[in-house]
């Protein structure tokens, strides 16, 4: 379970940063969006590591985005979430988009960080469920 546990620990690390940034760094709350996305990314990597039916490149993807018929390296993380962890798909893609916009203009949206933390919760719960079906129990990071 080595890689899955490592990714899960990174997910917790980035989530803790996001929560601390929101609470303790006035004026830098926009980086919450970066922290929660990378936390979600690592959670997905933890689950993919345990998907023994996938080709190696998709168990350890190196790209955020690549289609089914990618010339090299299989699907990207976003597409694997779409195809394997569908209940988390919209929340994950929302976090990915927000991780870039957050540094520019998400402040104009109502309670952006509450929403982003909510998206993170959706991904977290779905990925923990996926890991449990693979016989892997990892603690909640929230």
């Amino acid at each position: 379970m080595g890689q899955a546990a490592w990714h899960w620990a990174r997910a917790e690390h980035h989530y803790k940063f996001a929560v601390e940034a929101q609470a303790q760094l006035p004026g830098y709350e926009d980086w919450v969006g970066v922290g929660v996305f990378y936390s979600a990314l690592h959670m997905v990597h933890a689950a993919l590591d345990r998907e023994h039916g996938l080709p190696k490149d998709e168990r350890h993807p190196r790209k955020h985005s690549a289609p089914v018929n990618a010339k090299v390296g299989g699907r990207g993380v976003s597409q694997l979430v779409r195809d394997i962890y569908a209940p988390a798909h919209f929340a994950y893609r929302s976090l990915f988009e927000a991780s870039v916009r957050t540094r520019y203009d998400m402040k104009v949206l109502v309670s952006p960080y509450t929403r982003l933390l909510g998206d993170h919760q959706i991904v977290h719960d779905e990925i923990r469920k996926a890991l449990r079906t693979q016989g892997v129990v990892l603690p909640s990071i929230r």
């Binding site: 955020h64 985005s65 690549a66 289609p67 089914v68 018929n69 990618a70 010339k71 699907r75 990207g76 976003s78 597409q79 779409r82 195809d83 798909h89 919209f90 893609r93 929302s94 988009e97 870039v100 916009r101 520019y104 203009d105 402040k107 104009v108 949206l109 109502v110 929403r115």
Partner: protein
């Protein structure tokens, strides 16, 4: 007319009844299979942003074999107002 234009027309069509004024840009990268979509919204709220995101993801699903989408959804002010950038 190239593939970027064709994808743009399709995405614009999918966004037609999202009831806000918008501008769509598309860059298709055939080597990587990535379609980069930018959507500028004259009204940028969670509701409009999420609806656009849903429909762009539906576009991706319709072309999943050969297309992966990276999307950027942003308000008009981001492109037109220096004051906004400094807010």
């Amino acid at each position: 007319m190239d593939q970027s234009d064709l994808f743009r027309f399709e995405i614009e069509d999918r966004l037609l009844d999202v009831g806000v004024k918008k501008h769509v840009s598309v860059r298709w990268e055939p080597g990587s299979g990535i379609c980069r979509v930018g959507v500028m919204l004259h009204e940028y709220t969670w509701e409009t942003r999420d609806e656009v995101l849903r429909r762009v993801l539906a576009f991706e699903a319709a072309h999943a074999e050969d297309v992966a989408v990276e999307v950027d959804i942003f308000p008009l002010e981001a492109a037109t107002s220096a004051e906004y950038a400094h807010a």
